[in-house]
């Protein structure tokens, strides 16, 4: 059996969920559950004008693929896509999309959740804040909570 290959993309432009889902499900009759996660830019109560997403070209795609393949094997997924944007992103805009397809619902939920937790802590992307007052804010700090969310998948 040929192992399922995930769809991985790092791109400037936005994505369309219906199109991305169709890439996984079109013509198939064995998929019973599709879970999508979309991460969006928040305005932080009006203080944020934009986020600027920097990434390590090549390594970003490779890490996303590595994480996706772990999820496919662990949750017996029937399809997986991960798309991450870079560049300047305004509040309300999409940043990241993960889609997991499976026979049954819990595998699809777990697959998408797993990919997001590892993507946050291992895929080489960094966010810089552009503030509403015109100044360039600081680089977003990594959160301990994100490490904890990842580590829950590592328990025996």
């Amino acid at each position: 059996m040929v192992a399922l290959k995930p769809f991985i993309r790092v791109q400037r432009e936005d994505f369309d969920l219906q199109t991305e889902i169709a890439m996984l499900t079109e013509g198939r009759q064995d998929i019973g559950a599709v879970v999508t996660f979309t991460g969006l830019c928040r305005d932080e109560g009006g203080s944020l004008n934009a986020l600027e997403l920097e990434h390590y070209p090549g390594m970003a795609e490779a890490e996303m693929a590595r994480i996706a393949e772990l999820a496919i094997a662990r949750f017996s997924l029937l399809g997986l896509s991960a798309v991450h944007r870079y560049g300047k992103i305004a509040p309300g805009e999409n940043i990241v999309l993960v889609i997991a397809a499976a026979s049954h619902r819990q595998a699809a939920f777990d697959g998408a959740n797993f990919v997001m937790d590892f993507l946050k802590t291992a895929a080489p992307f960094w966010k810089k804040e552009h503030l509403a007052n015109g100044s360039t804010g600081s680089w977003v700090a990594a959160k301990d909570a994100d490490d904890a969310a990842r580590d829950k998948w590592l328990k025996p």
């Binding site: 390594m59 080489p124 960094w126």
Partner: protein, 85 residues
């Protein structure tokens, strides 16, 4: 040994270049040695690598620990903890 270094986020901003090729002395064996060596190259490196324990390293685009030997590396990425997603 010659190696390409690539910097990201505030490491890139503080060193003030996205990448460079440098010549590494033979006494530099591990990633940790490399960070300590870079700190001797000037103020901007010292500012970027002031707290080496938070710095992440990648050899040939794969995450590695600081005690990983760098022998044979074509490209070493040096960057802060990731904040994507």
């Amino acid at each position: 040994m010659k190696v390409k270094l690539v910097y990201f986020a505030w490491v890139r901003e503080r060193i003030d270049k996205p990448e460079e090729e440098i010549d590494i002395p033979e006494t530099v064996v591990t990633g940790r040695d490399l960070l300590n060596h870079l700190k001797t190259l000037g103020e901007e490196y010292e500012a970027a690598l002031q707290y080496p324990e938070v710095i992440r390293l990648a050899i040939n685009q794969e995450h590695v620990d600081h005690d990983e030997p760098i022998a044979g590396a074509r490209e070493i990425g040096i960057f802060p903890p990731m904040t994507g997603g």
